[in-house]
């Protein structure tokens, strides 16, 4: 492959992959079953990245495995955008060139950070090569697929070569739990899981936490939201919940027969203090935007918000954005949830609220969100449960129940 027998694109991709493999002291490269490529929206104005993609496309490169793609802040599938006065931020008017190269390469226009909902679903034990830290932690922990936190560009190169260096989380011994996290609160709410995620990420850094005390009936969306927050406040790439996640049938199993290297306890106080710390905007203060769906909402999360918004009117000074996987959005339209959401003045859209909040105009707005991940990356933000987000959207200011 390095010798050019598979064409110049594979040769070029392999050249970089082999050098990376040497750096991480990988003994070999292994075949991968899928890839997911990162922050498309961010990259459309980066000449070096676009230049490499152009070169690969001109060499006739094709991805060798199913490869999905992260969202743009603005998504042509919901051209109305998140608000009536929405204007496409200037950088994204130029994204067509990059998208063209992605199509030439055969990358799927999934435009979601949760391709594991639909479009690109890895199975247990599969070696894959994914970017997007929130997706990496989900597929490792919840599905039991094996991926490192692949960087931008490495995702595309490994997809073209169909190979990645064998190191880190591809090796079973490196997937064992390290830090024991004992949760000492019963009846955890969806909002609690994100605060716990924020606390765990910040405390364990890049170690693998084992969450003892999370209930067996935890929902898939709560696992998604917990992991994505821990992957933002820390570099968490994998976790275990005994009796819930597939590599941890029991607490002992989660540590692979070894002793925990550390132990932390998370009780009412930690959850309360972390929730407060996640907010820069306080109770009673004015907000401009309520943004939920980071990572993209599942259909049951859309259903929950539709129930809460039913019969309510969003304050005229507030934009309410609900971001979802396109498939969940389509289901919500068929089930009538989309109508309920839109009748309230909120908008059900595809795209990325996190990237959007970084762009001129939106970067000055005061946001409220139920997403711990958003709270980590956005400065002017208030954290709240979904219930509080809906109440605040109606009042036009931060309301806490």
């Amino acid at each position: 492959m390095l010798g050019g027998g598979y064409g110049p694109a594979v040769e070029l991709a392999m050249k970089a992959i082999v050098k990376v493999g040497d750096t991480v002291k990988a003994e070999k490269l292994i075949p991968i079953a899928s890839s997911h490529t990162g922050n498309a929206g961010l990259l459309s104005t980066w000449g070096s990245y676009v230049g490499v993609l152009k070169q690969l496309a001109e060499y006739g490169a094709k991805v060798n495995v199913p490869t999905s793609e992260n969202p743009y802040p603005y998504d042509i599938r919901t051209p109305l955008g998140p608000s009536e006065e929405f204007e496409i931020p200037e950088p994204f008017k130029k994204s067509g060139q990059l998208e063209g190269y992605y199509r030439t390469l055969g990358i799927m226009p999934t435009w979601t950070c949760t391709p594991y909902q639909y479009g690109n679903i890895p199975r247990f034990g599969q070696h894959i090569s994914w970017e997007e830290s929130s997706a990496v932690v989900f597929v490792n922990a919840v599905l039991g697929a094996k991926t490192n936190r692949e960087s931008i560009l490495m995702d595309v190169l490994t997809a073209i070569a169909g190979r990645t260096p064998y190191h880190g989380l591809h090796i079973n011994e490196n997937r064992r739990g390290e830090t024991l996290c004992v949760i000492q609160k019963n009846k955890l709410t969806s909002a609690d899981y994100q605060a716990i995620g924020y606390y765990v990420g910040r405390t364990v850094g890049n170690k693998i936490p084992v969450l003892d005390g999370m209930p067996r009936d935890i929902s898939v969306s709560d696992l998604k939201n917990f992991g994505s927050t821990a992957a933002a406040s820390g570099a968490v790439a994998h976790f275990h919940v005994p009796g819930v996640t597939p590599e941890a049938r029991s607490l002992e199993d989660a540590f692979g027969g070894e002793k925990p290297t550390d132990k932390i306890e998370i009780g009412l106080r930690e959850i309360k203090e972390t929730s407060e710390e996640m907010s820069a905007i306080q109770e009673g203060e004015k907000i401009d935007v309520v943004a939920v769906g980071c990572p993209h909402y599942y259909i049951e999360e859309i259903q929950a918000i539709a129930k809460m918004l039913n019969g309510k009117k969003v304050n005229k000074n507030v934009q309410f954005w609900v971001f979802a996987h396109d498939t969940s959005r389509t289901l919500a339209q068929k089930l009538g949830y989309a109508n309920v959401i839109e009748a309230s003045g909120a908008r059900l859209v595809t795209g990325c609220p996190l990237l959007l909040s970084k762009y001129p105009h939106y970067d000055k707005m005061r946001i409220m969100s139920d997403s711990g991940r958003m709270c980590y990356y956005v400065d002017l933000i208030a954290y709240g449960s979904l219930e509080d987000c809906v109440k605040s959207a109606v009042e036009g200011k931060v309301v806490r129940s």
Binding site: L12, K19, G38, L43, G47, E132, N148, R149, S151, M154
Partner: protein, 151 residues
């Protein structure tokens, strides 16, 4: 009379660079440093995080001595773009880099033929030994870092 110190470690990329040291014990977030400048087409290499001890300092052309790179998996692609636009540090010396940032320098070498030396795992802690303003030569081919301090 100059005072010379030689540190030995592992070169993660290739190339040799010499320049003025900028030292921080805090991790550096490349994306946060460069993102807005790239987006507005006005490249800037000044650390904009008000909580960072290097807040307001320009990392362009410096030998950046830091523990590791924090933040997004875009940090390597970000370093690649910074190298292309001529606003990157000249070399990186770290404690334990995340692979993502090293990949940025590898991409720059492979795709742009612009190697950026990175050395880590030195026999003495560079964050203790090297001071901002020291003249530093980083040789990623041999893993040797030479520090020259003017008295």
């Amino acid at each position: 009379m100059a005072n010379k110190i030689v540190l030995k470690g592992t070169g993660l990329t290739r190339g040799v660079a010499e320049g003025e040291a900028l030292v921080t014990k805090q991790p550096v977030n490349m994306l946060a440093t460069y993102m807005q400048g790239f987006m507005l087409n006005k490249p800037s290499s000044v650390i904009g995080d008000a909580r960072h001890e290097l807040f307001g300092k320009d990392i362009k052309g410096k030998i950046l001595i830091f523990p590791y790179a924090s933040g997004s998996l875009a940090c390597g692609a970000c370093l690649l773009e910074a190298i292309k636009q001529g606003v990157a540090p000249k070399a990186l010396v770290g404690i334990e880099m995340e692979t993502a940032i090293v990949e940025g320098a590898i991409f720059s070498d492979v795709f742009l033929n612009l190697p950026l030396p990175i050395v880590q795992g030195l026999d003495k802690n560079p964050l203790e030994i090297i001071r901002t303003g020291d003249q530093v030569k980083v040789d990623a081919n041999t893993g040797v870092v030479e520090v020259t301090r003017k008295r």
